[in-house]
Symmetry: C2
Amino acid sequence: MQNFTFKNPTEILFGRGMIAELGRRVPAHTAVLLLYGGGSIKRNGVYDQVKAALNKHRVIEFGGIEANPLYETCLKALEQVRANQVGFILAVGGGSVLDAAKFIAAAARFEGAEPWDLLRTHGAGIKAALPLGAVLTLPATGSESNGNAVISRQATREKLALTSGAVFPAFSVLDPETTFSLPQKQVRNGVVDAYVHVIEQYLTYPAAAPLQDRFAEAILQTLVEAGPVTLAEPQNYDARAAFMWGATLALNTLIGCGVPQDWSTHMIGHELTAFYGLDHAETLAIVLPGVWKHELERKKAKLEQYGQRVWKVRTATGAIARTEKFFHSLGMPTRLRDYKISAAEAAEKVRARFAERNTVLGEHGDLRPDAVAAILRSRA
Amino acid sequence: MQNFTFKNPTEILFGRGMIAELGRRVPAHTAVLLLYGGGSIKRNGVYDQVKAALNKHRVIEFGGIEANPLYETCLKALEQVRANQVGFILAVGGGSVLDAAKFIAAAARFEGAEPWDLLRTHGAGIKAALPLGAVLTLPATGSESNGNAVISRQATREKLALTSGAVFPAFSVLDPETTFSLPQKQVRNGVVDAYVHVIEQYLTYPAAAPLQDRFAEAILQTLVEAGPVTLAEPQNYDARAAFMWGATLALNTLIGCGVPQDWSTHMIGHELTAFYGLDHAETLAIVLPGVWKHELERKKAKLEQYGQRVWKVRTATGAIARTEKFFHSLGMPTRLRDYKISAAEAAEKVRARFAERNTVLGEHGDLRPDAVAAILRSRA
């Protein structure tokens, strides 16, 4: 096991009716920025519950955060924060709204001229942030209980990630009932996103971390069981709850403690979203099998362990096949052709960008732009 | 899944050499009470590492915390805290030193006349506490990452537990190398203690919490594998690390989220320690099989799941037998006769005390003093 530090101060409020606890968690006598996305919270009752819980607070609303939150939109929200002396940001929505809230919270305390610098340094420049909290309505990203955010810049088609201990939510409310009305596509995306979060922290090489391995496998098994049930029975509370708690634990930094990590699939996927506008999870389902096949020999021991423990198959290739089949069973395509994207073109675009940035990926730190291009060509 | 709140702000610093990080974690310009037990830290090098890391702090030392920390001893330490205006308590040792540190930290901010009241109310009266941290040298209790403490009072032979969010350690250093020199008996005790912590949060009845179940099983499997290795090879870093991290996650409150819990074995065991001076883990190994056999029908579904997933046996009785065999393999007795204690006498003493206090145990809240007496008689 490698040395590690672990700290996750976010309070989780889990279950039916827990939104009512908000009023006691948000500091009193503080102006609150209520940040949200496309407005579904106004149709499914969540907005009304939040407003009722905050009836003693001054609330400034800012809607319209995009599925891949834009820097340009965050800057508009930042103007509201400054104009209204906001002291607390409440994100109501999924990972995108949460990510935007984290970036805005850090930007509000940033003293430089250009907040994009916080992303260019991947969060290293964050010294402080406004406190924030969340009401999660879309289980997927784990953003409700970590210090990560991913922001896109429309002007330059860049998509960059930051990590900082300063932007962990003070609390996150997870009420599975708020997810009953989610479109099937978002549920499918959430299951795949959470699944690949676990994989990126697990499927590398044996590292004498048996407990982390078993925790990772526990989340994968839970997603394999609960994912299809929650798609088939949207109002099944138990399946929603298992999926929601699994998605949080997939990326609250616990299972990654003391183990090597690979984030190739995410890094390559971010570029596919930036160039082609695919949903984040759609890119992961395309890229992951390609990374595994390219790295088959070096990942073989863990692929076999994963296959045996999660899928009851013996071989590494069997484990890959079962994973793709699982994605398909959720209605998730795994090929670029499914989106009418030229693999040759995508490979060249991503290769060129990684080459320009000297990006090298993988748990061994040696997956170079040419290898990434080969992986993408294999996903035609 | 039941509703729950989860918050664990303790920072874990895990691995070789991490004691050196202490100096940056303890607030500057603060007098530190260095609390420890019987002095083994002076023989195994831990004391020297801690002193070196705190070379810029004013350190007041207080040794002699007992294996079952005494209220009377804590009051003496409290005098030192007050006399020296201590602002931070650093526990260096195992769960007993940690528990004492938590109680002293809360007592230092208690405004009533008699700090024992904090225990009589099981921590409900704790409004604030001095900040504390730990260097853990004995994996077992999980006290390094929770808000629990158990304190004994010599004068009255009472042993009471408190729980409070105010006494979570700010940080805990877990360096597996500090455990290399532990006596075999303490390792054996630690494995059994951690194992039963998991069991008390897991072995009740099915509650639609598949992920919590699998996390619990993951820790049990890790202890089953790493426990015997760490006894046989005391300097095996990987086995020590897996055991140490497993013992922390066994009782950092994560696996107990949203599920029914039973703490009968602990509650009965505390009385055996109070009356007969047995080690805490020794009492657990005696009581647990008795509780299971008494509650066989009501715990059957989970006993079978546990047997199948952890031991590859099909029946509930097979699971109980394998667990006792595992304890024996660690050199841990499971009968009162092994300590020359009369089961009839122990049963009557514990029954009388629980009757006097109206103590009712178990996940259904209906295990009455007569049932406890029957359980103890069965452990002759």
